[in-house]
Point group: C2
Chain length 410, copies 2
């Protein structure tokens, strides 16, 4: 049965003329078996960095609107090149920038969020037998300004397009062949996961398993879009992959699916804040207004009418967030405002946790045995996350991977 | 009195971070004296070539639509960078791609022509005190496809914007400080022309005096927009320049204003074509349908019911045009079809020719004295052009420059 497939290729997958030719070959293989294909591309690897260097040489603190105009050119080059490569191989294709594909976003430049995609034009092209090649990472606001989606935006474009066009599957091509129980570069015993639930992937992604970006997984979760993670370096289209799908499609529910970690975060703490209703909003509102995303949030029970408040943010936002927080702290009469950007976050994730007690305590015990101090804890139904000193990260990951028996049997 | 000025900068003028800073400084100097400024930019020098190399490595014969998507990124980078540079110096600015500036064109990709510019948004920005920075060389067709204007397109964008926004002057910044009686690299005695008529400039430009592109001058001529040619390497805003303006504004009308030449052309000849009404259209129609511009056209008087037909085109189009012409020739029963791409065209130009006989014959005599054979002749009210063997070009230019006394007195 013929399918509509959205394929997304990252920067290394389109990093040279040869790699672009290989992408074209794969697209044509899918078409030859009767599928319709929409391709979403990132910029050639290295190109975005070159543009960032130019920006930084001129005005690193300049307006995000202008930065987006510059940064969005990277994908515009690759979509044209892939379309030409497809044409050269006899396959009709048409490229679309974010503006042309009507990837509508809000106006939060550099971190824009997709509000909708008007896919009529693309559908017409697909019906006419063309491959549609769309620039990832970018969109357009209601005023016609070019926006970029920020970190991992191309994954999000791919999933959003897949949803808008009612695709059968969204394939994300990277330099790895799927999701592992943890990062194989850190733990060689890490094992490949052929299938996992979107909920689990959501937690894996948000914890920094670099394979898929959290926003893309959120999108897929919300609209029930199956994602398949594959390697663009594998010519075998039926090779290893990880299918991320609805939970009910997963037969076996395991206790702990994997160990995720993240070194890109920083921690901010404000202490001695008068404990009044609305204090959380007063503290986090200004951070959110600056478009800084907050990850973990922990508030201690108030003592003597005062409370302590700790949260984590992306490390890049550390200086700005700290400045905002300390200003807020002064206004609120807080006792102290401090932070640390040398932290790491580790999470264990698994749909089976719901029905099994003791998973969290086994985690805490295992870290204690290694003499690792836990600075923050946060839990969800299928995840337990802790923040520790960055220097203990590798030790902690190895230890947890071992304790929860995630290693390869072989 | 405050003016609205459109300034266009070519690739070498924005070729590095330092050069972009200098452009920003000049824009701010104009603003500081009360002028409103619209800036039109080319891509950084070398960038377009890099993109062309990528295209040629993948599919040199690919669709022009996709090439335009790729090629238009060059200017998109520079408009963002200049806007950031202006911001860094405290000057509010906003960039516009061709699509955003609503530079509407036909859909002749790679050679599109501007149909209109909807300048409302830009005017609002200017009224709000912003510098408006527009990507040259590019536009958008009615379907939202990105188009490029082809050779010299940025000059055309600048003049078209100046007309649409009712600017007082369109300044074209290049690496020379204006128009000379001929190319100073070939004839060191060439003298600077401070002011000349649009009609004369039109002939100079069309003959290959590389300073201004013919389409831009045509636009300026049609809408009476004064153009000033200046050097972006001259920090003195009141330094040397050439003002190209309405003929009535020019006091003194000289006999011959300058000698222009062009080595970018090729000649095609078809002989023994049955001389029937409509034969010129039958021959040139297919050439024009392929979007190839024809320059000089000469048709001999028919002998024995047959006629010969010679015309010139851009050298890049030589192979394609020859193929088309010879196919047409076969259909029409022509005797022969041939061409030569080792030719050069030389023209003498001057508003005073109208009222003075003998200018053309002085030209022919001078060439004959040097033993140079003339292959084609074409004349207009203020111009005489001849086609000669390319190898005689330099000798011919020097000789004519001398004969018409165009050299510097000093």
């Amino acid at each position: 049965m013929s399918k509509l497939i959205v394929q997304k290729y990252g920067g290394t997958s389109v990093g040279s003329v040869e790699r672009i030719q290989e992408v074209a070959n794969r697209v044509i293989r899918y078409r030859n078996r009767g599928d319709s294909v929409v391709v979403v591309l990132s910029a050639m690897s290295g190109e975005t960095n070159k543009l960032v260097e130019l920006i930084n040489a001129i005005n690193p603190k300049g307006s995000a609107r202008e930065k987006d105009v510059i940064l969005s050119t990277g994908e515009q080059v690759t979509i044209g090149l892939l379309s030409l490569a497809l044409e050269a191989k006899g396959c009709p294709a048409r490229s679309y920038t974010g503006t042309q594909a009507r990837v509508m976003t809000d106006n939060a430049h550099c971190k824009a969020r997709i509000s909708k995609i008007e896919g009529d034009k693309l559908t017409k092209d697909l019906d006419a037998g063309r491959v549609v090649v769309v620039a990832g990472f970018q969109g357009v606001d209601n005023e016609g300004n070019i926006t970029t989606l920020g970190r991992g935006g191309s994954d999000t474009t791919a999933v959003a397009l897949a949803v808008a066009l009612k695709a059968d599957e969204c394939q994300i091509y990277t330099d790895v062949d799927g999701v592992y129980t943890t990062d194989p570069r850190m733990v060689p015993e890490a094992t490949h996961i052929p299938k996992l639930a979107l909920e689990e992937m959501l937690e894996m992604a948000s914890q920094g398993s670099k394979v898929l970006q959290i926003r893309a997984v959120e999108f897929a979760y919300k609209y029930n879009m199956p994602i398949r993670v594959l390697s663009s370096f594998d010519d075998n289209d039926d090779g290893k992959s990880t299918l991320v799908t609805r939970e009910e499609d997963i037969m076996e529910e395991v206790l702990v699916r994997g160990v995720a970690f993240n070194k890109d975060e920083a921690q901010l703490t404000i202490t001695g804040v008068p404990d009044q209703p609305g204090v959380a909003y007063k503290i986090l509102g200004p951070i959110s207004d600056a478009n800084i995303e907050v990850d973990m949030i922990v508030q201690n029970i108030g003592i003597d009418g005062a409370t302590d408040f700790t949260f984590t943010i992306h490390r890049n936002d550390y200086d700005e967030a700290k400045k905002i927080l300390c200003e807020t702290g002064e206004k609120l009469g807080a006792k102290n405002c401090d932070g640390d950007d040398k932290i790491a976050k580790i999470s264990i994730i698994g749909g089976g946790m719901r029905s099994h007690a003791g998973v969290a305590s086994l985690m805490f015990e295992s870290l204690a045995n290694e003499g690792i101090n836990i600075r923050m804890i946060s839990t969800s139904e299928i995840k337990v996350s802790v923040v520790i000193d960055e220097k203990y990260l590798e030790l902690a990951v190895r230890s947890l991977h071992d304790v929860f028996d995630l290693g390869d049997c072989s």
